[in-house]
Symmetry: C2
Subunit: 228 residues, 2 copies
């Protein structure tokens, strides 16, 4: 359960005279097992919100509770544990390590902690995104869409309970986009994984049960699809 | 005029035992002032073809002529001149320098050669893509869509005669996508700039006069829209 109350994120530029208000008084609850899409114009605060939800960044004001516990009061160990075991993050720009192969990039999250069968898990994740035949390629030896899919495999390899995906299909053709969306839907419907996807594409948002729209750092709409 | 004949691009992996045939016998002519879209599945060779057209890479086999002159026989100076003055390139991953501001990144192509009013030209290019208020931000202080728009401004700032844009709107919302496509259409229709856009989105391809589709390194279709 994710609970965000009155969260504001302010970036101070240069000598502090310029303030960019990336998020402005955002409140939002997300329950376990929900599938939420976050939409909004470029610069509206979507990635900033995702970074806070994924504990990669902290609010300037407001509170953020995960499973009832305030993130501000968590120890570094607890935060690291959330980032590494509870949440899987697909970044808007893939953030792969350039000197490692696709396989090694997908194995990387499992280098700490006890993870039996690391290579097998990583290979399986790459098969899931149709990259079995590219696992020995480094990022510069992969197409844009292939790099994005490696990022998706890496986010899924530890079977997280929350998947945060920031524009996961932006560089993908129709057929790969459909496959990735099917994988994500299955993880949500069959495994009960909570999914939060940032997208500016209607057909990606159409797969979610609920669509939240940001504008200039505010939530301007929050629509739940009528359940079949 | 761009003339590509039987171009093949082979990447050799590791000890040379694995060959990736990224392009396989591609032939294609593009005339001055055309507006061409290149589509195809992820990994089909689109970015590889663009890099060869933009003189950022060389074919393994086949020939490439620009304005009647074979690229293989050009001096390094002539190649550098084409890359810096004739062609503007929007990369699939933005490739901005992380320690420079948006403004400095857009000015960068003008640091060599005589370019009067560099700052003014760069500011104008950033206004064109709605980023006047973000020109002092560095790439990490910009959203994904904003980074992509800086890349577009940088490609346009020298008013090139050929614009090569590899998925220029992948990270952009609908309104910014429309604006960028309008800018590109104007440059083509009013200024006669030759435009080659790689895209996997139908509505982006719809703006072009001609759509070329790649599959596994081959051209499988080349359709010219009936002229109104
Ligand atoms: N340096 C390299 N070494 C080995 N293989 C490579 C290299 N660069 C690209 N490839 C391979 O060549 C093929 C074509 O890559 P390319 O980047 O041209 O595809 P693309 O059509 O642009 O795909 P996308 O839509 O995903 O961006 C891919 O299968 C890729 O794995
Ligand atoms: N480190 C930073 N310093 C200053 N401003 C920042 C910083 N990071 C982001 N911003 C600004 O905060 C605003 C929100 O950025 P964010 O990345 O959350 O947008 P977004 O909704 O993800 O956009 P896109 O759809 O283009 O990816 C933008 O206007 C951006 O310029
Ligand atoms: Mg973003
Ligand atoms: Mg590509």
């Amino acid at each position: 359960v994710i609970q965000i109350r009155d969260v504001t994120k302010i970036y101070e530029m240069g000598d502090g005279t310029i303030q960019v208000r990336a998020l402005d008084g955002v409140s939002l609850d997300i329950s376990d097992g929900e599938y939420v899409a976050i939409m909004g114009a470029s610069g509206s605060g979507k990635s900033t919100l995702m970074n806070i939800i994924g504990c990669l960044d902290v609010p300037t004001e407001g509170t953020y509770h995960i499973d009832g516990q305030a993130v501000e009061s968590m120890s570094n160990d607890r935060l690291a544990d959330i980032r590494s075991r509870k949440v899987g993050f697909v970044f808007q720009t893939h953030n792969l390590l350039p000197r490692l192969t696709a396989l090694a990039n997908v194995e990387l999250p499992m280098m700490y902690g006890r993870w039996p069968n690391r290579r097998t898990r990583a290979e399986h994740a790459l098969e899931l995104v149709n990259l079995a035949d590219r696992m020995d390629h480094r990022p510069t030896e992969l197409s844009g869409g292939q790099q994005q899919r490696v990022g998706i495999a890496r986010a899924l390899v530890k079977e997280p309970s929350v998947l945060l995906a920031d524009e996961p299909t932006g560089n993908l053709d129709t057929s790969n986009t459909t496959e990735i969306l099917n994988i994500i839907s299955d993880l949500n419907h069959q495994n009960g994984i909570t999914v939060i996807v940032v997208t500016h594409e209607r057909d990606v948002a159409a797969r979610a049960d609920r669509v939240i729209t940001l504008s200039d750092g505010h939530i301007i709409s929050d629509e739940t699809r009528p359940q079949a």
